[in-house]
Symmetry: C2
């Protein structure tokens, strides 16, 4: 993939859940930041639900803890204003997103993955529309890829379902307890608030691989 | 207190717990930021313990949830490096801090409150030393105020104990669910990651009181 005398570009892993509001912010912001830092984004869709169940939580902590939930809705509204990202509080939260997650898993290395993820997030958090629907996904994919119907069929296959379960197992085994989660160098960063730090570390790794071993860039 | 034709300076409220690691970061950083923005800091010590108990938690969520706890220790280490703040993982966490909290409550409007809070936090998170001790507090206060022993006696009085309980009740009634928590204008901001946003809003309120009613500064 890369000329033999060139290093592959350094990368940042973005683990995200389409129902997660702070994942929304990072999905809308990451490609511009990564491009400026000349690093690649590795898209890692997964489901937070099974992770939360492992903690004994039946749903999002924002619903389980009323005080934090009330705060979070205001926090996200302010952050969207700050980042100039559209926002409309979804009428369903956390919104079901199995099909788009499976599609994102299949398309994770495709050139359209960033545009796809932003479109799905926009539907959820700016348009308040359902996303776990073959009809909606067909419409989204039709502008991105030549054979959208085949992709949706593949996304609904048992094979893809198994792959998504494996993906979530990998998330758990890597210590992921929330979303968005970033991996850069040997470091894990949690939450949209850490996106800039994670990008900076990933970019520093490009310049000097020794950064991954020791000190963080300041 | 202020000349009649002058507005009092705008302010930011900092609600903090001496055992909270993210409160540590904000206590070390807030006065420099507030000074640059020409706003006043209102120091609001309180105890997170009773707040957490109200959620049915027996201790810090960092202890109750192992994955998040492991992450948090690394996160704080990285942030201290970023902010150039000393860090040593405390051997006792959350550390008992009743006496320093009561002293901070009594001294909240004193000119030495910022220096006192930074010193207590440094003892906890940079020197790994006990802070809930009259001997240690006597030493800390002796460089800050002429009658340290009297202050410690007052801090241990029933009256101060009642005041601290009331303070924690106020925290609960204002929707505080963690620390540090900032109030600026009519907005509440949670966590050290929001300190800059809170300071910016408080400063904007000084310039134009209408900011508190509507849009946030961008």
């Amino acid at each position: 993939m890369f000329p033999i005398d060139e290093q592959p570009p350094a990368s940042i892993e973005l683990w995200f859940d389409f129902a997660s509001i702070y994942s929304y912010l990072s999905i809308m912001r990451i490609e511009a930041l990564a491009q400026a830092a000349q690093i690649r984004v590795l898209w890692r869709p997964f489901l937070l639900g099974p992770i939360f169940k492992g903690f004994g939580w039946s749903t999002s902590p924002f619903l389980l803890q009323a005080e934090k939930g009330a705060y979070t809705w205001r926090d996200i509204e302010r952050l969207c204003q700050k980042y100039q990202i559209p926002w409309r509080r979804p009428s369903e939260f956390p919104r079901r997103a199995l099909l788009p997650t499976r599609i994102a898993l299949l398309g994770a290395s495709e050139p359209w993955i960033g545009a796809f993820c932003r479109r799905v997030m926009h539907l959820n958090f700016a348009e308040d529309l359902p996303i776990d629907s073959a009809e909606v996904m067909l419409e989204v994919l039709s502008t991105l890829t030549p054979r959208p119907a085949e992709l949706i069929t593949a996304a609904q296959s048992d094979d893809t379902k198994t792959r998504l379960r494996t993906q979530t197992d990998i998330a758990r085994s890597r210590g992921i307890f929330g979303a968005p989660m970033f991996f850069a160098g040997h470091e894990m960063f949690w939450g949209n608030d850490r996106l800039e730090d994670a990008v900076a570390l990933a970019a520093a790794v490009t310049v000097s691989p020794s950064v991954t071993q020791g000190a963080l860039p300041t």
